[in-house]
């Protein structure tokens, strides 16, 4: 699998896909996208990198514990859901706020977006931890 063609294509794809996945995550509330799609996209490109360059080679300089990623994601999502209680609302009540930033113009901030970021991290962490564990198994 580690042919020159895959390696080269992967090298070009990697940064683009990661940026695209982040844009999908952030755009998700109003346009196609969202945490789940963004997460799967991120996971796919990392998986592709693992396949193209070999797990062992990648691990020598890039070896995050994906378990932490999904742990963080689940915590973030759960805290977002619980935070409504701190403001004396029902569990999972969402909030919307519009803010003006100098350069970006009007930006919509939604608490559900935070939840979506949690989903994003869970999907990335979950898929890649499964992928890495299965791939590592000799």
């Amino acid at each position: 699998m580690t042919t020159l063609i895959t390696k080269t294509v992967t090298k070009i794809c990697l940064p683009l896909v990661i940026l695209f996945s982040i844009s999908l995550l952030l755009a998700g509330h109003n346009n196609p996208g969202g945490g789940f799609i963004g997460g799967v996209m991120f996971a796919s490109v990392i998986a592709l990198t693992y396949v193209a360059f070999g797990l062992d080679y990648i691990k020598s300089f890039f070896n995050p514990d994906w378990g932490n990623w999904f742990g963080f994601g689940l915590l973030l999502a759960a805290l977002t859901a619980f935070s409504a209680i701190a403001f004396s609302h029902n569990f999972f009540r969402s909030a919307v706020e519009f803010v003006h930033l100098p350069f970006f113009g009007e930006i919509e901030l939604v608490s559900a977006g935070l939840f979506d970021i949690g989903v994003y991290f869970v999907v990335i962490g979950g898929l890649l931890s499964i992928f890495k564990n299965v791939g590592d198994d000799e």
């Binding site: 699998m1 999908l24 998700g28 509330h29 109003n30 346009n31 196609p32 996208g33 969202g34 945490g35 789940f36 799609i37 799967v40 996209m41 996971a43 796919s44 998986a47 592709l48 693992y50 396949v51 994906w66 378990g67 999904f70 742990g71 994601g73 689940l74 999502a77 759960a78 859901a81 209680i85 029902n90 569990f91 999972f92 969402s94 919307v96 919509e108 939604v110 559900a112 977006g113 939840f115 979506d116 949690g118 989903v119 869970v122 999907v123 962490g125 979950g126 898929l127 931890s129 499964i130 992928f131 564990n133 299965v134 791939g135 590592d136 198994d137």
Partner: protein, 789 residues
């Protein structure tokens, strides 16, 4: 701060601070125990802040809305009973966690230990303040789980694992009975809210006359009895002594095992005053009191003696709460409540002493000890105070509540009349006699007599103040409560009793109250106790012989048999149900789906196929369908893996294309990505397996698979045409609701995303939890395989 907030903080503070404990442990290192003690102290202060209101006779109630549309809320209720338990739990918590600083070696995994202790404390506080039966159940099971983890703290010792498993199986399944009982209670009263039932006389009356009353009572009682080690469920508590001694002192003598007693006291106003209550609660109580007191003789492990004594003392409490008649529902309530508090002090004190002795002598076998009074004078004095209080010697607090127990027994016997006038007081005295005997044994066996020549370390001495001070403090309380009973009685007992019998209670507890019947009974207890003590070793020997002759007269015999059988059966079952090949599971799932489809299909008959079908498909869609058929055939028929996989992914991408035509960009995007990821995973797997399908598939298997596939396809086809243009009643499409409300309610234009993260956010939270569990499961599957070999 208002009282409700204080209670909420008292309950959740231990959870939050335990959550960050591992991080704090990196800073504090070996001193982390003091952080845990400080946490317990904060909870204690929160409880103390609420106490004055309760002592003045008020109750506190409050609710945080959780799922108001379902009627499920987080609600707390504080009356005398819950405050007394709150004090016991957080107060003993402070004592135990400080003591652990001396007891636990710094080589142990301290963060895990203290974290679990704090989790336990939070769960216990949550349980006693719960105003809602479902919430009470959740905290109840949490205490079972934390207890399981603490008993199994030394994971490598088989006996710890055995004890932990046993306690979890018994207490957690008892909890399920309790839950069933609560559901029956809900069916009768129509509410999960405890204060509503307590403060509404008509509901209570309706409950007692309801034909389901007895079932609710029995189910809830099973929960209480399993938690408090009563009746046949007592067997888990002796094995729970495998836990570190501070844990035994905290969970298995002073707090968790009293959860069952708490429950009995909590439901007392609802169920007492009936014959069933007396027979069940007092009956099981008296039986357990005598049995456990008697079996304590056989124990040689000092913690074993204490375990049986705890079972027996809890049975005292059960018995007293069970004393009831129609006219006077709460005969023993005051006595029980006072004894509950006293037992928490003297038993925790004795456990701390047991920990000290085991720590210094490196053994817990009482037959190897003796004559330690000279080497450990302070420990000796503290232990004597604790044991004499348990034996009921004046002027200690155990004497007072034992007297009240006798008094209540006499009254109960008198009210029942007939042979019971003598029988009930006599059984009570017999229980006291056993208690007296094993209490003396503890002192005599450890501290008096001659020091054995071998088996003990040469230099034994009193421990440091870290371990001694908590025990001395408890001994001080024992004397204080004994000499000045008005302090606990006014502050704890009276509010609690008022909360249980639901009327103002005024108690007069005095050290000297003249030559009453109960004093005579106490004197009789002492005389008989001394007589029995002279025969102590012979009785123990007889018990050992009896046990060796009739091993099947024991609850443990049946427990072990059942658990071992269950292991065998489940092993056989799962190895048959899960033979390995994924294909078998898929076939099972598909056949089951077909069976579910078959029933409505047969009922509908020829109406199954809608009449006027509209097959007006645009050309480009028809083309995509054509390609899809080709790709699917390719995936099924191509002889090598690589082309088959490419055909399969081609099929997936075509489906994505179709989604685009059907104006579902989110679905299309997801489909493309999932297809890409699964292709990558396929390719990864492909490197490791042969390039060609090696196995030869027999024709019969092929035919079977073909039939199943075709049947499923036909089923899906029929379902789809029915869903889109068929006879299924045209429900209003859900989409309209979401299209309308998405922007208004959630501020998002992308409906799919809004549904995922907002409208159905709860589902998503569940799904991502499942994903996390799946990832952890894969990790465990792969990493645990090596250990078995």
């Amino acid at each position: 701060m208002d009282s409700f907030t204080a209670i909420t903080i008292a309950v959740f503070l231990p959870f939050v601070l335990a959550g960050i404990l591992p991080a704090v442990a990196k800073l504090l290192k070996d001193k982390i125990g003091w952080y845990a003690s400080a946490t317990a102290l904060l909870s204690l202060l929160m409880v103390a802040q609420v106490a004055p209101e309760i002592i003045h006779g008020e109750t506190i109630q409050g609710t945080i809305e959780w799922l108001p549309s379902m009627g499920i809320n987080l609600s707390f209720y504080a009356d005398g009973l819950s405050i007394m338990f709150g004090f016991i739990v957080s107060g003993i918590g402070v004592i135990i966690m400080s003591y652990s600083n001396g007891y636990m070696s710094t080589k142990e995994d301290l963060p895990r230990y203290y974290q679990q202790l704090l989790f336990f404390m939070g769960s216990m506080l949550g349980m006693v303040f719960s105003a809602n039966t479902i919430q009470l159940f959740i905290f109840w099971e949490l205490t079972s789980i934390t207890s399981f983890m603490l008993i199994g703290y030394w994971r490598n010792r088989p006996m710890s694992v055995y004890g932990a498993t046993k306690s979890l199986l018994i207490t957690a399944s008892g909890g399920l009975f309790m839950l069933a009982g609560f559901l029956v209670l809900h069916a009768i009263t129509g509410t999960f809210d405890i204060p509503t039932i307590l403060h509404n006389e008509s509901i209570r009356e309706a409950l007692q006359n309801h034909h389901l009353f007895i079932y609710a009572l029995i189910l809830i009682f099973i929960g209480a009895a399993s938690k408090s080690a009563q009746g046949p469920f007592y067997i888990w508590l002796p094995n729970a002594m495998e836990a570190p001694t501070p844990v035994s002192a905290f969970l298995h003598s002073a707090t968790m095992v009293k959860a069952g007693i708490y429950l009995i006291a909590r439901i007392h106003p609802m169920f007492s005053g009936t014959e069933a209550w007396f027979i069940l609660v007092s009956g099981v109580g008296i039986f357990t009191m005598l049995l456990a007191g008697f079996l304590a003789f056989r124990q040689t492990d000092i913690k074993g003696i204490l375990a049986y004594s705890t079972i027996s003392q809890l049975a005292y409490l059960m018995t007293m709460y069970g004393y009831t008649t129609h006219e006077e529902p709460g005969i023993g309530v005051a006595a029980a409540t006072f004894h509950l508090l006293n037992h928490a002090t003297f038993k925790a004190c004795l456990f701390l002493v047991a920990g000290i002795v085991a720590h210094e002598t490196a053994t817990r076998d009482i037959t190897k000890m003796g004559g330690l009074r000279k080497e450990m004078p302070i420990t000796f004095i503290v232990a004597t105070i604790g044991a004499l209080s348990m034996a009921g010697i004046p002027p200690l607090n155990g004497f007072l509540s034992k007297e009240m127990f006798y008094e209540a027994s006499v009254e109960m016997g008198h009210l029942l009349g007939g042979p019971y006038t003598i029988l009930i007081p006599a059984l009570a005295v017999l229980g006291g006699v056993f208690t007296f005997a094993y209490s003396i044994k503890l002192i005599d066996g450890i501290f008096l007599g001659k020091r054995p020549t071998k088996g003990l370390p040469e230099h034994i001495h009193d421990p440091s103040m870290v371990m001694l001070a908590p025990a001395i403090f408890l001994a001080g309380l024992i004397i204080l409560f004994g000499l000045v009973p008005s302090i606990p009685v006014h502050n704890f007992i009276e509010p609690t009793v008022s909360g249980i019998i639901l009327e103002e209670a005024h108690l007069h507890v005095k050290l000297w109250h003249g030559f009453t019947t109960s004093l005579m009974m106490t004197i009789a207890t002492f005389i008989l106790g001394i007589l029995i003590y002279t025969q102590y070793d012979r009785i123990a020997e007889w018990q050992n012989r009896f046990n060796a002759m009739f091993p099947w007269i024991s609850v443990n015999y049946y427990y072990d048999g059942a658990v071992n059988n269950a292991k065998d059966v489940t092993f056989k079952f799962s190895s048959r149900m899960q033979p390995g090949p994924v294909k078998n599971y898929v076939i099972a799932v598909l056949l089951l789906t077909l069976a579910m489809f078959a029933i409505p299909a047969m009922m509908l008959g020829t109406n199954l196929i809608p009449q006027n079908l509209n097959f007006d498909v645009p050309l480009y869609e028809a083309l995509i369908f054509l390609f899809m058929i080709v790709a699917a055939l390719g995936a099924a028929l191509l002889p090598r893996y690589l082309p088959a996989i490419i055909a399969l992914s081609g099929l997936g991408y075509l489906v994505a294309l179709l989604f685009i035509y059907l104006q579902a960009p989110d679905l299309a995007l997801t489909q493309v990505l999932v297809e890409t990821l699964s292709t990558i995973i396929f390719l990864l797997a492909l490197v490791k397996i042969p390039q060609k399908f090696k196995e030869h598939i027999p024709t019969t298997t092929l035919a079977r698979d073909l039939i199943i596939s075709v049947a499923v396809s036909v089923m899906i086809f029929i379902l789809l045409i029915n869903a889109t243009q068929g006879i299924v009643a045209p429900f209003e499409s859900l989409s309209y609701y979401f299209i309308e409300k998405s922007l208004a309610l959630a501020g998002g234009h992308n409906i799919v995303n809004v549904i995922i993260v907002d409208f159905r956010g709860y589902d998503t939270l569940g799904e991502i939890s499942v994903l996390c569990l799946a990832a952890l499961g894969v990790y465990n599957l792969i990493h645990s395989r090596g250990e078995d070999e």
